[in-house]
Symmetry: D2
Subunit: 110 residues, 4 copies
């Protein structure tokens, strides 16, 4: 199911069930997950570090690089979903609340 029809909760439930089936949940404290996030973001940065911004745009057009990029993005997303699931912080509500704050901080022009 694509993003257009997949509720955020479905992805959260899927990754949580995957971790639970492997007995990983005791390791998934917010501290450990934040550290895992730093690790996975580092892998994304590894793909892009020596590229120009323009070359980084082209990554998505190369099938091999695109798959590597998608894999890292999925790893990052999954940890975000686990952090949301384990803290009980609803991601959609947190995003809406932060966007309201940011709309005040950075008003749209005219």
């Amino acid at each position: 199911m694509p993003d257009a029809t997949t509720p955020v909760a479905a992805l959260k439930d899927a990754i949580r069930a995957f971790a639970a089936a492997r007995g990983w949940e005791p390791y998934h404290t917010p501290k450990n997950l934040a550290m895992a996030l730093a690790s996975e973001v580092g892998e994304l940065c590894d793909i892009l570090r020596w590229l120009t911004p323009e070359e980084s745009v082209a990554v998505a057009r190369d099938p091999v690089q695109r798959e590597a990029f998608a894999d890292e993005l999925a790893d990052i997303a999954n940890i975000v979903f686990l952090l949301s699931a384990h803290t009980g912080i609803d991601l959609s509500e947190a995003v809406a609340a932060k966007m309201t704050k940011n709309a005040v901080k950075y008003p749209a022009p005219g």
Copy 2:
């Protein structure tokens, strides 16, 4: 709308419209966004770095800390959504594809 009923695409559309209204899109190359992600993950790590894993679990139970945590999680999620939107990599499909690979790499115990 909570995670249970919010499609992933709705969050992607919302953050993209927010950025477009402010003229930020030219800055949103994958390279710049990955660097922004490292920066936002750093802010999440800042909240948790001196806490024990147990104390990090308690963050979600304290109203003030919970809001700070939720704000950082939202910032991170928004950049993940922007990376998905700008590369055209469907997040739900990327997560499903990666989970299939990980199920082979880490088989669930019988």
Copy 3:
């Protein structure tokens, strides 16, 4: 004293004494320090995330930006020194050992 005449150990001793005088050492486990490093590297990325590579070169020529950059670089260096001090891993020896490995992995062109 500048880098030309400052032994690495002098910087390690200085930051360790600074932390000890404030009772911070119990918090300085490798796990916590690595997380602090992710946080400080995030602050450096925050300065540079929307800049082009060329603009990032110019940061060192602007007095205000240079000081902000130097402050972040110092924070990062100090955590590297603390990690070295607390693990007993000699930084100069680790750098030499890694360079020997990398010289095999990436031979210099004839």
Copy 4:
């Protein structure tokens, strides 16, 4: 030569010569190096993410884990040295200046 007798500048010169011999210097803008730093710190976090703080202390006592840790710490240190070399920011002076600021911000108890 160990940290006790190695000037910071000697490590900076060594890594810079290593990079120059391989034609890597054009890639070493502050933006690219900061992104490389996020990547290398991610690798250090990868070693430690599921460990308790106590287990992270024990890493330095296990020969195999210690070498992996030392390798990552060296990678991180080398990028810090390259950032210092390319910006002309003297690391020892930056550390001293930041410590003076921090001594005001966090006064040592009486």
